[in-house]
C-alpha cells in the first residue's frame, strides 16, 4: 500500500511538472504558411514560449476542436464566416478580451467587418489575420476564353479545366450565373433553388473537367505541366505560379472574386491565453506580418505591412486586382447552420453524376 501511495504521489508530481512545462507552450492550430519558421524562432527568442504548430484547414479545425470540446489548442485560425454558426452549434470557442489586443496594429475596416461577422450575444470571437480570395488561375492560352467561372465550361478549354468540388465552387458559379447566393443565405428555399441551377450547370460541365483538385500542390502541378490551363483556385497559388512562369496568373472573375478572412480565435478550453494574445500582437507587427505574406502569398490585416512585402508579389497582386476588381470582391458572410447540409447533397450528386 505504501509503495502504491508513493507511486501515486510520484505520478502526481510528474503530471504537475509536465503541466507547468506546458504553461510555456503555445499550441497553434493554423494554415500552412501562416507560421513561418523564422517568425516562430523570433517569437520564441523574444518571449521564451515554445510554439507547437499544427497545420490544418477550416473543416479540420472544426472537427479537431469539436472532438475535444475546444481543448488541445491555445489559438486557432478559422475563417471568419465559419465561427458563429459553429460556435452556436458546438460551443468550441471563447470570447476575445479586446483590451488585450493592440487594435492599432489592425486595418480598421477589416477589424470592424470581422467584429460584425464573428459576434454572438455581444461577445466578439475573432480578429482578422490573413485575407485572400478565390478566383481563376488562367494560362495565357486560355486568357481570352476564361474571364468568369462559367467560362470554365466553354468548349475551347474542354479537358483542360480543374476546380474543387467544394462550396466556393457552388457560390462562384452561382454569381457567374447572375444569382446572388449570399443574399439568399437566410432564405433556405431560395438558396435551394439557386443551388439546383448550379447543380445542373456543374453536371453539364463535368466532361470539360480534367479532374477535381483536392490539394494545393496537386493543382499547382496540373497548371505547371500545362495539363490544365484554367482553374478555379486561390489567388496565392496563382501568384506562386506567376513567379515561376509569367504566362500564368490569377484573374479576378467578372462576377467578382470570393473574399475570405482568416481570423484568430480562442478555443474554449485553451490553456495558455497569455501566450495566445502575445502571439496575436506579435505577428500583427508590420515587419512580421510581411514575412507571413512572403511565405503564404496572402496579405494580412496588419497596417503598413505592404512596405515590407516582396516586390514581385506586390506586382502580381496589382496585376490581378485593379480598384474595380477589389470593389467587386464578394466577401463571405457567416454561414447559417444547416446550409452546408444542402450544399453537401448537391456536391455528392455532382460527384456521382456521369
Amino acid at each position: 500500500m505504501n509503495t502504491l501511495h508513493r507511486l501515486g504521489l510520484g505520478l502526481l508530481a510528474t503530471t504537475w511538472v509536465i503541466s507547468s512545462v506546458q504553461a510555456d507552450e503555445l499550441r497553434l492550430l493554423t494554415w500552412g504558411g501562416y507560421a513561418p519558421d523564422a517568425v516562430v524562432a523570433q517569437f520564441e527568442e523574444e518571449t521564451g514560449i515554445d510554439v507547437q504548430v499544427t497545420l490544418s484547414n477550416n473543416e479540420d479545425m472544426i472537427s479537431k476542436l469539436r472532438a475535444t470540446g475546444g481543448a488541445g489548442f491555445d489559438l486557432a485560425q478559422p475563417s471568419q464566416d465559419r465561427i458563429i454558426g459553429v460556435q452556436r452549434q458546438f460551443n468550441i470557442y471563447q470570447p476575445l478580451d479586446m483590451s488585450r489586443i493592440e487594435s492599432d496594429l489592425f486595418q480598421a475596416s477589416m477589424l470592424s467587418a470581422t467584429r460584425e461577422s464573428t459576434s454572438l450575444n455581444g461577445n466578439q470571437y475573432g480578429v482578422p489575420a490573413v485575407w485572400g480570395t478565390s478566383g481563376l488561375i488562367v494560362a495565357d492560352a486560355a486568357a481570352n476564353t476564361v474571364t468568369d467561372y462559367t467560362d470554365l465550361c466553354a468548349d475551347a478549354v474542354a479537358g483542360r479545366v480543374s476546380y474543387r468540388l467544394k462550396r466556393p465552387t457552388l457560390i462562384g458559379f452561382a454569381y457567374a450565373m447572375g444569382e446572388d447566393p449570399f443574399a439568399a443565405y437566410n432564405d433556405e428555399g431560395e438558396y435551394r433553388a439557386i443551388l439546383e441551377k448550379v447543380e445542373a450547370e456543374l453536371i453539364d460541365c463535368k466532361p470539360n473537367v480534367k479532374t477535381y483538385w483536392s490539394g494545393g500542390d496537386q493543382l499547382l502541378a496540373l497548371l505547371r505541366t500545362g495539363e490544365v490551363t484554367a482553374a478555379m483556385a486561390w489567388d496565392a497559388g496563382g501568384w506562386t505560379l506567376n513567379a515561376e512562369d509569367a504566362s500564368i496568373n490569377f484573374v479576378a472573375p467578372e462576377s467578382g472574386a470570393l473574399g475570405w478572412i482568416d481570423t484568430f480565435a480562442l478555443p474554449r478550453r485553451a490553456e495558455n491565453l497569455d501566450a495566445a494574445y502575445q502571439w496575436i500582437n506579435f505577428v500583427m507587427r508590420p515587419e512580421i506580418a510581411a514575412q507571413i505574406t512572403n511565405q503564404s502569398g496572402n496579405f494580412t490585416a496588419s497596417v503598413g505591412a505592404d512596405a515590407f512585402v516582396r516586390a514581385e508579389l506586390r506586382d502580381a497582386y496589382r496585376a490581378s486586382f485593379d480598384q474595380d476588381a477589389l470593389d467587386n470582391i464578394n466577401w463571405y458572410p457567416p454561414v447559417p447552420p444547416g446550409l452546408e447540409a444542402i450544399e453537401g447533397q448537391v456536391l455528392d450528386r455532382i460527384q456521382a453524376a456521369n
Binding site: E59, S63, R66, K166, T225, G226, E227, A341, D348, A352
Partner: protein
C-alpha cells in the same frame, strides 16, 4: 500455487492484446454504432432513429457508390490473385537459395515507402505529361500526349499494386508446404498442366487463396488515397463518402451510419464469398 501463477502469466500476456482490442477496436465501434442512431433535431437536442440508415437507401448515390466500390474491389481481388499466384509459385517452388530471399525482398521493398508515395509514383508514370505518355510518343505510337490517369483502369492498377504483397505472402506460405511428390504423382497418373493445377495445387493452396483474397478485398474496399488521387472526377469510393461526412460536413451521424454499413455489408460479402466457394473461416485459419 503453480496454477495461479500460470493463470497470472496468461492474464499478463493477454492484457496488451485485450486492451488493444477493447480500447482501440471495440469501444470506438460501439460508440460509432451509438452515434449512427442519433438524429440531430436542433443544436442541443438529440433523439434516436434510423434516419441516417434510410438516407443510405433513399439517396441513390450512396448505395450506387457502395456497389461500385464493391464490384471494383472484387475485380481488384481477382486480378491480384491472377498476378500474385504465378509469382508466389515461382518463389515457393522454383526459386532456390538466395534467389528466393531476393525475390521475396523485391516484393517487400515497395512497402517500405508509404501508400501516398507509391500512389504519387504511379501518378508520375501515368499522367499526361508523365513517363508512359512520353515513351508512347517517342515510339511514335501516338501523336500527342495521352492521359492515362484519372480513370477506373488507373485506379485498379494502383489498387492491385498496393495489394499484391498481401496476396503473395499467404500464397507462398501455403504453397511452400505442398509436397513436390504430389505434383509429380499427378503427372505420373496422366494429368496435364491444367488437371494438376485444378486437382492438386489449387485445392492445397485454397486456404492461402481464400485468406489472401479476404485481406486484399477488405484492404481495397477500405482504401482511400489511391481511388481519390488516381480516379479523378468520376472516382466515387465509399470510404471517400465516409471521410466527407465526418470531416467536411461535420455530419458525424451520417458518417457513422455509413461506417457501420461498410462494416456490415463488407462482412456480409466476405461471408457470401466463403459460402459460394464452399470454404469456412475455420478451415482458412487452421
Amino acid at each position: 500455487m503453480n496454477r495461479t501463477a500460470g493463470k497470472l502469466s496468461l492474464l499478463l500476456l493477454l492484457t496488451p492484446f485485450v486492451l488493444w482490442i477493447v480500447l482501440l477496436v471495440l469501444l470506438p465501434h460501439v460508440q460509432m454504432l451509438r452515434v449512427s442512431f442519433q438524429v440531430r433535431e436542433s443544436w442541443d437536442s438529440l433523439s434516436w432513429g434510423v434516419t441516417q440508415y434510410s438516407n443510405f437507401f433513399a439517396e441513390s448515390y450512396y448505395w450506387r457508390t457502395f456497389i461500385r466500390t464493391g464490384v471494383m474491389s472484387m475485380l481488384t481481388t481477382a486480378l491480384t490473385l491472377l498476378i500474385g499466384f504465378p509469382i508466389a509459385w515461382y518463389i515457393a517452388k522454383l526459386a532456390r537459395g538466395r534467389a528466393r530471399g531476393v525475390l521475396f525482398l523485391a516484393c517487400l521493398i515497395p512497402f517500405w515507402a508509404s501508400e501516398l508515395v507509391r500512389t504519387y509514383g504511379w501518378m508520375i508514370l501515368l499522367r499526361e505529361s508523365g513517363l508512359f505518355s512520353g515513351w508512347l510518343q517517342a515510339l511514335g505510337w501516338v501523336d500527342g500526349p495521352v492521359e492515362l490517369l484519372y480513370n477506373d483502369a488507373a485506379v485498379i492498377v494502383g489498387l492491385v499494386y498496393n495489394a499484391l504483397l498481401f496476396m503473395v505472402v499467404p500464397l507462398v506460405t501455403t504453397l511452400d508446404g505442398l509436397d513436390d511428390n504430389l505434383v509429380e504423382a499427378g503427372y505420373d497418373l496422366g494429368g496435364n498442366h491444367w488437371n494438376v493445377l485444378r486437382e492438386v495445387v489449387i485445392p492445397w493452396a485454397m486456404p492461402g487463396i481464400v485468406s489472401g483474397c479476404i485481406v486484399v478485398f477488405m484492404l481495397t474496399l477500405g482504401s482511400y488515397l489511391t481511388p481519390t488521387l488516381m480516379g479523378g472526377k468520376d472516382s466515387a469510393w465509399f470510404t471517400q463518402q465516409i471521410f466527407t461526412q465526418f470531416i467536411t460536413r461535420f455530419n458525424w451521424e451520417q458518417g457513422a451510419a455509413l461506417g457501420v454499413l461498410l462494416l456490415v455489408l463488407s462482412s456480409l460479402l466476405v461471408w457470401l464469398g466463403l459460402r459460394l466457394t464452399g470454404q469456412n473461416l475455420r478451415k482458412v485459419l487452421g
